[in-house]
């Protein structure tokens, strides 16, 4: 885990109201795994940092994908190239591909696209047969950056690709990875209890001390999205008890 100040790079629009920004963070870029996140702070900014999955790595820079959903994300998007960000990470446990599945399916919805380019890259480098399904409500909300991978698109309104959600469009595989709104992940859990899913929660410190990012478990009790998560076995999460629609949602 590193805490470093890095310069903000350029910003690009990848869908309606959705942007990718890059941050100079060499140590994090060199060590981040798919599904891990960074907790970003800036000055003057909000009291608490804001958590974001690492979207891509580009040399010494990491990229994150975000929407202006609250004051924090609006401030981030209003910053200029060269401004400094405090970057804490990589945090949490990412996806675990070490079991060596032959085939893998990535399912992402909306901002849940965030951890998938890294996951796709790792799956490809391990020689897995990769299928990536990405969905959104409509084509203009669909981030269509595919990072060279073949992607099955899905839109609720049928304006691009498969008509319906990404879960419905996904085939079966040895291993399923998913990220998106919690209700989408609950659907993933129904169909593939052993899927690995990256959850969204409110978050405070990102390092395991504040216990603010509690994830309710089917076995009872809670653990911490920032420490034991944010990737969980899908059937391990008590989905009806996990709140969604966060004011500073980063993936929903």
């Amino acid at each position: 885990m590193f805490l470093l100040d890095g310069a903000l790079g350029g910003q690009r629009r990848v869908a309606r109201d959705m942007f990718v920004i890059s941050i100079e963070a060499p140590e994090i870029a060199a060590s981040v795994r798919a599904g891990q996140f960074v907790n970003l702070g800036w000055s003057p900014g909000p009291l608490l940092r804001r958590p974001f999955s690492v979207y891509r790595v580009d040399g010494d820079r990491i990229e994150i994908v975000l929407k202006a959903v609250g004051e924090g994300t609006s401030q981030l998007l209003a910053m200029s190239a060269g401004d400094r960000l405090s970057c804490l990470g990589p945090l949490g446990h990412g996806f675990d591909l070490s079991a060596g599945p032959k085939s893998i399916v990535l399912i992402s919805g909306g901002l849940g696209v965030a951890p998938m380019p890294l996951a796709a890259g790792e799956a490809r480098s391990r020689g897995m047969h990769l299928t990536w399904v990405h969905g959104a409500r409509s084509s203009d909300e669909l981030c269509t950056e595919a990072d060279g991978h073949e992607v099955i698109w899905a839109t609720d309104d049928g304006s691009k690709g498969f008509t319906g959600n990404a879960v419905a469009a996904a085939p079966d595989a040895d291993l399923v990875l998913a990220c998106g709104p919690n209700r989408m992940l609950a659907a993933v859990a129904n169909r593939w209890p052993d899927a690995q899913v990256a959850v969204e929660t409110y978050m405070g410190c990102g390092t395991g001390v504040c216990l603010g990012c509690a994830v309710p478990l089917t076995g009872g009790g809670y653990d911490r999205a920032c420490k034991e998560g944010p990737v969980y076995r899908a059937a391990g999460v008590d989905w009806p008890s996990l709140p969604s629609h966060l004011s500073y949602a980063v993936r929903a």
Binding site: L48, T207, G208, V209, C213
Partner: protein, 300 residues
């Protein structure tokens, strides 16, 4: 920069506040030389799940939390954490909680003499089941009863963390002093509420939460000062401290030491920065020790 809090000698005036530093094993990247001491996450006799999410909500210059004192219970604390504390070069105080005065006493008895446990910080902001849920900390007699229950079961230092949700903090401060407290920690969080205007309901599942952060600092400085005026035992200041200047406000206002809490969430190095900042301010002012710092503390 060493300080004394009663009989307890600390190598520095900045401690980690309960609930913001886990059990001392979690916060990475902090240079531990800066830690005067730490107060553990609050513990009960038995394990507790804590409250349902959402548990935190950011507010202007602050945050609300309703974690619900999630924790593994005292036996796990003794097994998993105290042995590690025993090897550390700063004291670890255990923040203790209960639903009755007797439970606090039992906790103190169980932890007394456990290597690694340097003392207690009593959280009196818990509902008293025997009194229909009235908070111990709001009633001088209940606050004193809890303090006495702990005092009787241990020779270790007993600190009492005061709640700000009272009409006269001096009354509670004097009551727990008389009951045998060695020091006071002032203050705990303020009870607050924030509404989600999309859902038309509170942002926290628990409805209310404890407000911390810079938002409460002037309130905390005032209450710590009021407590310090009321008693002869030392007061440790807490509330929205993020920089050295914030800590010095509490110390000038009568506090012997300070605790840094919420600031650690945003900045894992906050404690070291506060500690080092105090040292450099002292150097620039020509103070050789904390005893040289002028105080504003007219006695009641």
């Amino acid at each position: 920069m060493s300080v004394s809090v009663g009989a307890v000698k600390l190598r520095g005036p900045v401690l980690a506040a309960s609930g913001t530093f886990g059990y001392g094993t979690e916060v990475p990247l902090l240079e531990r030389r800066a830690l005067g001491g730490m107060v553990s996450k609050g513990i009960f006799l038995r394990p507790r799940d804590g409250t349902a999410p959402p548990r935190i909500a950011e507010t202007p210059s602050g945050m609300l939390n309703a974690i619900g004192l999630q924790g593994p219970g005292v036996e796990a604390l003794i097994r998993d954490y105290a042995p590690r504390w025993a090897g550390w070069d700063f004291p670890v105080f255990v923040n203790i909680n209960g639903e009755s005065a007797a439970e606090y006493g039992e906790l103190a008895a169980r932890l007394d003499g456990v290597p690694g446990v340097a003392g207690f910080e009593i959280n009196i902001s818990c509902p008293n089941v025997d009194q229909g849920g009235l908070y111990f900390g709001n009633d001088p007699r209940a606050a004193a009863a809890v303090t006495e229950a702990v005092r009787r079961r241990t020779r270790l230092p007993v600190w009492v963390k005061l709640t700000p949700m009272v009409s006269d903090i001096g009354v509670i401060a004097r009551a727990v002093e008389a009951a045998g407290a060695d020091a006071l920690c002032a203050i705990n969080t303020f009870v607050g509420m924030s509404i989600d205007l999309n859902a038309y309901k509170p942002r926290l599942s628990f409805r209310t939460g404890g407000l911390s952060g810079p938002a409460i600092r002037p309130l905390a400085v005032h209450l710590a000062h009021q407590a310090a005026r009321a008693v002869r035992i030392p007061v440790i200041g807490i509330g929205g401290i993020a920089r050295a200047e914030d800590a010095l406000e509490f110390m000038v206002a009568g506090c012997a030491a300070v605790q840094v809490g919420t600031a650690t969430f945003a900045n894992p190095r906050a404690i070291a920065e506060v500690h080092d900042g105090i040292a450099s301010i002292f150097e620039s002012k020509g103070f050789s020790s904390l005893a040289d710092l002028p105080r504003y503390l007219p006695r009641d």
